[in-house]
Each structure stands twice: as structure tokens, then as C-alpha cells.
Amino acid sequence: MTTLTAVPASAAVRRPRIRNRYLRGLATPRGVIGLALVGLVLAVGLAAPLLTSYDPDFQTADALVSPGTGDHLWGTDEIGRDLLSRLLYGIRSDVLVVLAAVPIAALVGCGLALLATAHRAADVAVQRLFDLLLSFPGLILGLTVTAIMGVGRGTIIVVIALVETPAFGRLLRGAILVHRDREYAVAARVGGAGPLRLLTRHVLPNAADPVVVHVALAMSVAVILEGAMSFIGIGIRPPEASLGSTLAASRPYLEDHPAYALGPLAVITALVVGLNLIAEALNRGARR
């Protein structure tokens, strides 16, 4: 028999502390900053009832478009509603939309990708469907769906899901096609793995990286899209608080009362920057 090759002892030392590659990516400075930004926004949104004593829809007649005072820390809007309270509750409605829409898009997109990679005919159909969806710019799609479904939270969720579904689908389809032909997948087939085992045990764990990264990226796109739709008035309808509609309402008061616009702007920026940092951290973690 040939010489026994000792496994290098140093290999054990080199093993990273965190085994999951995504968590390892998030444990970098980039990932921690991203998580902190998003976490902070989520925390204040969740804790809204504790942080403010005002109902977001409650109007006071004695303070209209006022800067911060003792009673209203962040001031009030043109009909006397507390801005801080509207901001905090606005985060809630925003996050709700994003958390509903992105998983729907991921599930539908990935499901279609699996279908497309299983059958040649299905592939053609799914690809043309994606082409169709991708040919609409996001806001045009938003206007079209609103015209059909009417204004409301459900509409925004549908629009975001429609925009993101092809992205998830294309990413997973491409990754599956690549990994299915890798030598280790061929080796698994020669070892007797059936189509299902090949997919779940060998192909999908390797093909999942771009999808996981894209979840974070899609959420940041969703935040922007929700803001944009509410801003132009086809999103969440007043009087319900949302970041986009608050921003839209603040426009006449930019000079006299800049804090009015700054609040929602800061929150949207923090969410988008934070989610992008998380996406990049996941991406780098996955590439190791």
C-alpha cells in the first residue's frame, strides 16, 4: 500500500470559528454596520408605541407645521399630526410591505426557476414571462397594476413581487445550469443520485449563494420602490402613515421646516445603505 498521507495538522487551526459562510460574511465590519443600521430602524419601528405617546393620526389644532417643541420633539405637519409618531409608524408600514413582498418574489421566482430547469418547454415559457415582466420599468408596472387593482398596500406588495420575481428566477436558473454541469454533479450522477437528490443535495446548496445575496438587495429595491410609489401617490394612502407619502407632503415646507423631509429621508437612506452593506457582506462571505 502507498504511504499514509497525514492530513496536515494546521488544517484544524485554520478552520474558521463560524462555520456558516453567510454568518461569517455578516461578522465582518461591513456586515455588522449593515445589520446595525437595519436593526436600528427595525427596532424603533417596532418600539413605536413606547417611543411616542401620540397616535400617528391624532391632530392638534394648536400646532400646525411647527418645528420641534417640548410636546412634539420632531414638530408637527400641516394638519397638526406629530411627525415623530408618523415617522415611526411609517417604518412599520414600510417594513411590512417589504417583508411580505420580497419572500413572495423569492418563492415564486425560485419555483419558476426550478420548473424552467426541469423542462425545456417550461423553460421557454418561463423565460418569455420574465422577459415580459422585465420589459416594464418598475414605476410603469406600478401605475399599470394600480390602474387595475386600485391604490393600497396590496397593490404595492404585488408590484414589488412582480418586479423582483424575474430577478430571483433568472439568478437561480443560471446558477442551477452552471452547477448541474460541474464535475461534482456528474460524479454524483455516476454515483447513482436521482434527479431529486442531485438537485437538493448537490446543485441547490451550491447554487443558492446569488439568491441569498439577492434577498438583501431586493429588500433595498423594495424600500425605494415603496417610497417612490407612495411619494407619487399611488402607494399607501393617507391618512395612514408611510415614509413615501410623508416625504411627498413635506415638499412645500422644505425651507421653513427641513426636519419634516429629513426624517423619512434619513430612514430610507439608512435602510437602503444598510441592506446593500448586508448584501455585499453576504456576497463576500459566500465567495470564500
Binding site: R14, E183, Y184, A187, G191, R201, N206
Partner: protein, 627 residues
């Protein structure tokens, strides 16, 4: 067409004793997560005008890094930490400015890379490539066009003026490497750095390229630094050899001395690991056990000490200095009579080596696997590629059938059709008498159990997300063999059988070297106890010292388990080493089959003869002439 060699005669003032390139104390480090990796640790050498110097060593020895450092072409993570590279004894390339370096790159030092497929820009014509190389060094426009055609002619491309307008994809691999050489020579450099210029090429093409480089060296007076791991290429082309190990020079000598009477235990080991066509049939290869040192934490003593059979205490604690021996050769080893000691030890093991188990009389037995008039055609919208054309082969019980051929000969298509990854277009495959050309479910199951495969690329063939244990057990799980506890036990047995520790099961593939990964792949293939093992270029991605170990392992397993084996490779010497019979393939057809020894000694088909003639022997030319 004539070649113009009208370059300004090199500064005549420089005394002839000044070497063209003088490298002293070169240190290169790469930044990594684990801190600096000291890839090159004090390399010294001189290069004279017109000389061909070979730098040899295993992967990770620092040979490519040394070459890249010479004209500061290191990747971003790498930097020269100490030393000097003097050009003409005047300009130090380590401290030179970027502007000075640009003057040198291309004009004084040309480079040829390993992979001709990716070294040319697919969007530019070959003429444009040559034009840009010359324009960068101020050759005027009219001269450039004429000279471009001259250069293509120089490197042996027919109809050069016409081919200038062609794009890289219109050239074959060998032709592209010629274009790369033409590019490197466009400005008539004094030094040509060739980093594994023929590794990606077939032997017959390699032969042409080496001849070309030699001729050019002679006619143009270009000095060549030839980086290679192939001792045959060294013997054929280089005048002097520099052997690198662990980032240091361990031996420097003339080619005849280094290959004929190597002094350093590493050089000796490296040469013993090379399979030779002229060795007696059945001689066992000798690998070098162990793995190269981790250069993030370089050893204090001799880098080779851990793998050296002669290492003493001093070797582990003190760096051996370069000793100069008579004749100007230098060697870095504490043991003064290493070759004598090793030869004594070597002859003992050679005597112990058992000859290849004679093949049982099988003349009348039915073949395990029989292929008759197998054809495979790949069709795409525009193309129709005939990959296999009327291939008939038989594999008998307990036999190793070697299949050789150059790239595109259909070797890989053949094995993939045999294991059912591709379906045959025509012909029949019989396994133990049953037709499995289009297997049904039951046949498929039987086939998966009995026919297993070892793949070429030890990095791509193991799922990076699974532990080694899960990888080896995968065929067992897929085929529903055994309980989890039984499978765990079997994995441990298999890992030990292929020379790994059973504890490897909990690790991920990335913790292992190429040779170790290939052992894991072999363990996986053996898991369902197959009767036929198909090896598709199992050692071509490995260093010679590791290749020898894996070849020995496969030969041992074949004999001990009574496997029938199909062994595919492009290297005839390796195939001869393991095979009972050899089939030579070319362009999808089998052109010759015969017993291994006889086929190599007396090839009948002209193609087999050409293939054999093109394999450079690692014996120095002078010794061959004397013999």
C-alpha cells in the same frame, strides 16, 4: 521572407562577463488572511545572453512567482520584499520606476504564458495584437504591418499576411501559442520568460513549440527562462537547470548534470517520480511522500526536511547554504553524499517492488465491458461534431485498459458514454453480456453499482459544501446501501484504504491538497464496491511526485481488488505504467490497440509512432547519445 535582426547591438561597452540578468536575494511575499506568505525566499541566479535556463519545481515552489517578479508583473497581493534584479548589470528592476519598467517590458523582456486560450483578446485580430505590442515601443506604422507578417512567418504560421486579419478563435491552441511567442518576440527582447508554455498543449504540438523556441534562441540570440514541471521538456530544451523548492534554490547545475547525476534529495526524488517510456516495463514509480511546506510559516531549517529520507536534526534547525561543487554546480543540502546514500536505499526498494501482476489467462473469457461500433455525435443548431466514430473496445476482468490520445480525440466522450452521462448515437455497449446502451431502470441501478468513475480535476469533482465523509458516502446513500452506522464505518475503511486518515471524514474538501483530494475521489468511486473503475485523466492535474503516488495507489487497488480498469490519459508514459493493454485514439477513432509494452516498443500506426516520438525523455541528451 527574412527576419530582421537589426536591433542596435547591445551596449558594446558592457563587458561580456556581465550577465544579462542577475538576480540576487530575491524575496517575494503575498498578503493573505493568514499573514504574509513567503513564496520566494532568497533566489539567486544569473542569466547569460542566449542561454536557456529552466526553472523546475512542484506547484507552490515559487517558480512562476520568481518569473513574474523579474519584471514586476506580480498580482496585486504580491510584493518584492528584498533583493535585486539587475538588467545588464545596470538597471535594478526592483527599484525601477513604472516608466522605466514599461520600457523594459515587451522590449527587453518578453513573456509567454501557460494558457494560449485565454492570453489573447478575442475581440482583436492577431495583426492588431502584434501592432499594439510594437506601437507601445514606438515602431512606426508602415514598418509595423510588414514586421507583423514577418513575425507570424517566423513562428511558422502559413500565409502570414492573410492570417493577420484573423481573430484568435480561428487559430488552434498550438497556433495561438505561436502567436503568443510572436507577440513576445515582436520587439526582439533579450529575455523571453516562458511560464509553462507547452503545459496546455498536446505532445506533438509541444514538440513543435519547443523546437520553435530553440531555433529562435539560436537565430535571434534570445535568452530564455523556461518555467516547467516537465523534466522531459527540461532535458530537451534547457542548458542549465534551477531547481526550486519552498521558495529557495535547492540545486543549480547544467541540464546533463542535474538530470544525469542529481545531487539534492529533492531533485533525485523528482526524477524518480517521472514515469519513463524507456524504463523496464513494470517498474514501480517512486513518489515523494508528504506535502510542500506551508510558506505562511516557513520552516527554520531546510524546507524539504519533512519529506526527505535523509533529513537529520541539523536539517530541521539550520538552513543549508548553497555549496559550490566542481564544475560550477551548486546544491543546498547538509548531506554531502546524498545520491550515494539514496541510491543504496533506492535499489533496496526497487528489488522489493513486485512486478506488475501478470494478467490471468482470459483469452477465451467474455469481456466485462464490450463496446462495438460506438458512435456519438453532438449536434447544435449550426454544428455537427462527430466525437466518437465506430469505436470498438473490450475490457476483460482484472485488466487495465489504457486509452491515450490528444485533446479532442474523444477519450472523455468515450468514458462519459460508458458511464451513461452521454447517450450513444449509434453502436452497442455490453456490460457482462447485457446490452446497456439504453439502460432501463434495473440496468441503470446495476450499472451504477458496478461501474464507477474517477474524475480529472480534484478541485471540481468534490462538492465543496459537503464533508469528505458525506462525499465518500454519497454513492452509498444514493443507492440505498447500508445503514448510517455501516456507511460511517465503510467511509473510515475507504479513507484508510486510499492512504488518508479516517478523521478526514469530518473535514471539508478545501482542507486538502490536490493529491489528497484525488484520493478522496478514488475512495468515493470504490464505495459501492464496483467491478469496473473508469479513470478519466486521474493524474494529469497533479505534480509528478503526487502523480506517482496516485498511479501506484490505482495500480495497487486494481491488483488487490481485482478491478477491471479503464485508464485515460494524454501522457503515454503514465498510461504504459498502469496498463496491460493500450488503445490509441485519434479524432474519435481507435487507431491502434495492443499490449502496453509491445505497443510502446513497436508502434505500428504512424500516429502512435508520432505520439511516442513527441514525448520528450527526461534523460539528458548527452547521456542518451552515450548509451
Amino acid at each position: 521572407m527574412t527576419v530582421s535582426v537589426e536591433k542596435p547591438v547591445a551596449p558594446a561597452a558592457a563587458p561580456t562577463t556581465t550577465p544579462l540578468l542577475s538576480v540576487r536575494g530575491l524575496h517575494v511575499a503575498f498578503d493573505s488572511e493568514r499573514g504574509p506568505v513567503h513564496a520566494v525566499r532568497g533566489v539567486d541566479f544569473d542569466l547569460a545572453r542566449g542561454e536557456t535556463l529552466a526553472i523546475v519545481g512542484e506547484s507552490g515552489s515559487g517558480k512562476s512567482t520568481t518569473a513574474l517578479a523579474l519584471n514586476r508583473m506580480l498580482p496585486a497581493a504580491g510584493r518584492i520584499t528584498a533583493g535585486s534584479v539587475l538588467l545588464d548589470g545596470a538597471l535594478d528592476l526592483v527599484t525601477a520606476s513604472e516608466a522605466e519598467l514599461r520600457e523594459v517590458r515587451g522590449a527587453r523582456i518578453g513573456m509567454v504564458f501557460q494558457d494560449p486560450m485565454t492570453s489573447l483578446n478575442p475581440l482583436l485580430t492577431v495583426g492588431r495584437h502584434l501592432d499594439e505590442a510594437m506601437r507601445a515601443h514606438g515602431v512606426d506604422r508602415r514598418r509595423r504591418t510588414a514586421r507583423a507578417a514577418e513575425l507570424l512567418d517566423l513562428v511558422g504560421i502559413a500565409e502570414p499576411a492573410k492570417r493577420l486579419h484573423d481573430h484568435p478563435h480561428q487559430f488552434s491552441g498550438g497556433m495561438r501559442q505561436r502567436v503568443m511567442i510572436a507577440l513576445a518576440l515582436a520587439n526582439e527582447p533579450d529575455v523571453l520568460l516562458a511560464d509553462e508554455p507547452t503545459t496546455a498543449l498536446d505532445p506533438t504540438v509541444q514538440d513543435q513549440i519547443l523546437t520553435l523556441v530553440e531555433d529562435l534562441g539560436r537565430t535571434l540570440g534570445t535568452a530564455t527562462v523556461l518555467i516547467t514541471h516537465n523534466m522531459g521538456v527540461v532535458a530537451r530544451s534547457a542548458a542549465r537547470v534551477l531547481v526550486l523548492y519552498g521558495g529557495r534554490v535547492v540545486e543549480q547545475a547544467s541540464t546533463a548534470e542535474a538530470l544525469g547525476t542529481p545531487e539534492h534529495p529533492y531533485t533525485i526524488g523528482l526524477l524518480r517520480a517521472v514515469p519513463r517510456l524507456d524504463a523496464p516495463y513494470g517498474t514501480r514509480l517512486e513518489g515523494i511522500p508528504g506535502t510542500p511546506p506551508d510558506l505562511a510559516a516557513p520552516p527554520v531549517g531546510c524546507a524539504f526536511a519533512d519529506r526527505c529520507p535523509l533529513a537529520g536534526d541539523r536539517c530541521r534547525t539550520e538552513q543549508p547554504p548553497l555549496r559550490t561543487l566542481p564544475g560550477g554546480r551548486t546544491v543546498a543540502c547538509w548531506v554531502e553524499d546524498a545520491p550515494a546514500v539514496l541510491t543504496a536505499a533506492g535499489s533496496r526498494s526497487a528489488a522489493a517492488a513486485k512486478p506488475k501482476a501478470p494478467l490471468a489467462e482470459v483469452a477465451d473469457a467474455a469481456p466485462v465491458l464490450a463496446v462495438s461500433s460506438l458512435g456519438k455525435v453532438f449536434r447544435s443548431r449550426r454544428n455537427r461534431v462527430v466525437a466518437l466514430d465506430d469505436v470498438s473496445l473490450e475490457l476483460f476482468r482484472g485488466e487495465t485498459l489504457g486509452v491515450v490520445g490528444e485533446s479532442g480525440s474523444g477519450k472523455s466522450t468515450l468514458v462519459r458514454t460508458l458511464v451513461g452521462v452521454h447517450s450513444a448515437t449509434s453502436g452497442r455497449i455490453l456490460f457482462e453480456g447485457r446490452d446497456i446502451t439504453r439502460p432501463g431502470r434495473a440496468d441503470q441501478r446495476a450499472l451504477r453499482r458496478s461501474v464507477q468513475m474517477v474524475f480529472q480535476d480534484p478541485y471540481a469533482s468534490l462538492n465543496p459544501r459537503l464533508t469528505v465523509g458525506a462525499i465518500v458516502a454519497d454513492p452509498l446513500v444514493s443507492q440505498g446501501i447500508g445503514t448510517p452506522a455501516e456507511r460511517r464505518r465503510r467511509v473510515g475503511e475507504l479513507l484508510e484504504r486510499v492512504g488518508l486518515d479516517a478523521s478526514a471524514a469530518d473535514r471539508l474538501p478545501r482542507d486538502f491538497s490536490g493529491g489528497q483530494r484525488q484520493r478522496i475521489g478514488i475512495a468515493r468511486a470504490l464505495a459501492p464496491e464496483p467491478s469496473v473503475l473508469i479513470c478519466d485523466e486521474p493524474v494529469s492535474a497533479l505534480d509528478v511526485s503526487v502523480q506517482a503516488q496516485v498511479v501506484n495507489l490505482l495500480a495497487d487497488l486494481q491488483a488487490e481488488l481485482g478491478l477491471s480498469m479503464v485508464f485515460i490519459a494524454h501522457d503515454l508514459a503514465v498510461v504504459r505504467q498502469v496498463s496491460h493493454r493500450i488503445a490509441v485514439m485519434r479524432a474519435g477513432r481507435v487507431v491502434e490497440t495492443g499490449p502496453a509494452e509491445e505497443l510502446c516498443a513497436h508502434p505500428r500506426h504512424p500516429y502512435t509512432q508520432a505520439l511516442l516520438a513527441a514525448v520528450p525523455s527526461p534523460t539528458p541528451v548527452s547521456a542518451r547519445a552515450a548509451a
